[in-house]
């Protein structure tokens, strides 16, 4: 193994320029991907926080009677992972309203009938995305006695649409850059292979197995992927540190805006992906050459 690593390092050294280009290409691709991931991780968290921790109000139809409550609770509990369900009767709601609007309570007194519906306030125990809340809300809405569900879907929904559009663009960009990096990596391996063609012929003549011949190329590919990934992360981190403090300062005053760098898991995932990229480029290239 040490032998293969040494060989790969020697090869990287003798093809410095080519390897540098490859590592930079990989790191740029990784950068594009991680910028999107950084944006999505933060945007998702911000949206979540605006959604007040997965809270939703369920407004019930006027046919609702108190004896339906236990069954309804059970029903809602089967639909999702609910932390708590609080019943708010229309009387309670009106009292609260009156308290909140004490100055206009005269107007409220003119009402002959309570116009407010009975309601349930629920909080989801764990939810990973706004979409999950949205889906859950729709399934609740399908219950017969439920009139409406409110979870801030109005402007948040519109925001989400833009957000999803961004996401699609992000996926497309990531795929594109992944393919470019893959192509460059595969090409570098191919060039390295052909520059060592004579050596490989000789190795075969003295009894080298194909595994022995291929191993240094794989080490090289993996190393390129790893270095490219690290470089991409470092560039991202530097850019992040430079930009994030500015954003937080200018927005934090009037909006919840907690920007964080990628989580350790995401970084690990990106580096792994980058290493995979190096490996896969090598695999494709050697498969094509040695067929």
């Amino acid at each position: 193994m040490i032998h293969f690593v040494k060989k790969a390092l020697a090869d990287i050294h003798s093809n410095r320029f080519l390897n540098l280009i490859t590592i930079i290409t990989i790191s740029l691709s990784i950068l594009v991907v991680s910028v999107f991931l950084l944006f999505f991780e933060n945007a998702s968290r911000v949206i979540e926080s605006w959604n007040k921790g997965g809270r939703a109000m369920i407004y019930l139809k006027s046919e609702f009677r108190m004896d339906m409550l236990p069954k309804l609770k059970v029903k809602i509990n089967t639909l999702g992972d609910i932390d708590e369900i609080v019943y708010i009767s229309k009387t309670q709601a009106l009292d609260k309203l009156k308290k909140n609007m004490s100055s206009q309570s005269a107007f409220l007194k003119t009402l002959k009938e309570n116009p407010l519906p009975d309601a349930l306030e629920i909080r989801m125990k764990s939810y990973n995305s706004f979409e999950e809340v949205q889906k859950f809300a729709q399934s609740i809405k399908a219950i017969e006695i439920v009139e409406d569900v409110e979870y801030g879907q109005g402007w948040l929904g519109r925001f989400l649409k833009i957000f999803n559009l961004f996401k699609i663009t992000g996926y497309a960009m990531c795929t594109l850059f992944f393919l470019i990096a893959l192509f460059i990596t595969a090409n570098t391996v191919r060039l390295a292979f052909y520059s060592r063609k004579r050596e490989i012929e000789i190795m075969r003549l003295v009894g080298a197995t194909e595994t022995f011949i291929k191993a240094p190329f794989y080490v090289e590919g993996l190393l390129q992927g790893f270095l490219g990934g690290i470089l991409g992360m470092v560039i991202l981190l530097i850019t992040y540190l430079a930009v994030s403090s500015g954003i937080t300062q200018s927005f934090a005053s009037y909006m919840y805006f907690d920007i964080r760098f990628l989580s350790v898991q995401t970084i690990a995932l990106i580096i792994t992906g980058s290493i995979f990229l190096g490996w896969f480029g090598c695999y494709l290239s050697l498969k094509q050459i040695l067929k």
Binding site: H3, S14, R198, E199, E201, I202, M203, R204, L205, V206, G207, A208, T209, E210, F212
Partner: protein
């Protein structure tokens, strides 16, 4: 035709032919080589001498006939077994076939690395072989900085370092001056004395002292014209 089924045969060819496109490079070659034999193969250029060696280490596949190497039928060797067949041979070529950007040491060590030997063993063995051939002082040199004779000595070191049972040398002295050629032949004879089977394609037969028993296989236009035993 050839009923002499010797148990000690290490290389056996039965009616072997090799065709390149429509051209026959080898025609109906039947040859039995015993373990430990010294064989000289001679003949004019284009006779098929190199092709004969190539089909033995499977650089080329025989078009017809059967070849047995130490009991292994070459036609049945899978590509995954091929490297292990090659390790039974030590090869020397007219053009040396050394890796130009690897040192003398690395070129010789490659054979043992490929075979998965331990680094400590490799170090010891490579330096020992380089010493016997007088190249130990230049173990760090790159092949292009060496003379032809020196390069071929490295090639001989590479051929014998894995202690193969068979040496195949394709005009190993062809491009060398007399003195260098003699050194190469001497070291091949030295290795032959240890019990190895040695096949040498060569014109420089007169270099050989006639103390060693050998057979001279004369090839012309792809067929064996004559086999002479020299004592």
């Amino acid at each position: 035709m050839n009923d002499k089924s010797n148990k000690n045969s290490i290389i056996r060819l039965f009616n072997v032919s090799k065709r390149f496109g429509g051209k026959l490079a080898l025609k109906d070659i039947t040859l039995d080589i015993e373990q430990g034999e010294l064989i000289f193969i001679s003949g004019p250029s284009g006779a098929g001498k190199s092709t004969l060696l190539k089909i033995l280490y499977l650089a080329e596949k025989a078009s017809e006939g059967q070849i047995l190497i130490g009991g292994m039928n070459l036609a049945r060797i899978s590509s995954s077994k091929l490297p292990f067949l090659r390790r039974r041979f030590g090869m020397i070529f007219q053009d040396f076939k050394l890796i130009p950007n690897r040192t003398v040491y690395e070129n010789v060590a490659l054979v043992l690395e490929v075979a998965g030997e331990k680094p400590s063993f490799i170090r010891k063995k490579v330096m020992q072989v380089l010493r016997t051939i007088g190249m130990e002082k230049k173990f760090k040199a790159l092949p292009p900085t060496l003379s032809g004779g020196e390069q071929q000595r490295v090639a001989v070191a590479r051929a014998v370092v894995g202690q193969p049972s068979i040496i195949l040398a394709d005009e190993p002295t062809g491009s060398l001056d007399l003195k260098s050629a003699q050194i190469i032949l001497d070291s091949l004879m030295e290795y032959h004395k240890k019990g190895a089977t040695v096949l040498i394609v060569s014109h420089n037969l007169h270099l050989l002292e006639s103390t060693v028993r050998s057979r001279n296989v004369e090839i012309s236009e792809g067929t064996i014209k004559r086999i002479a035993t020299i004592c």
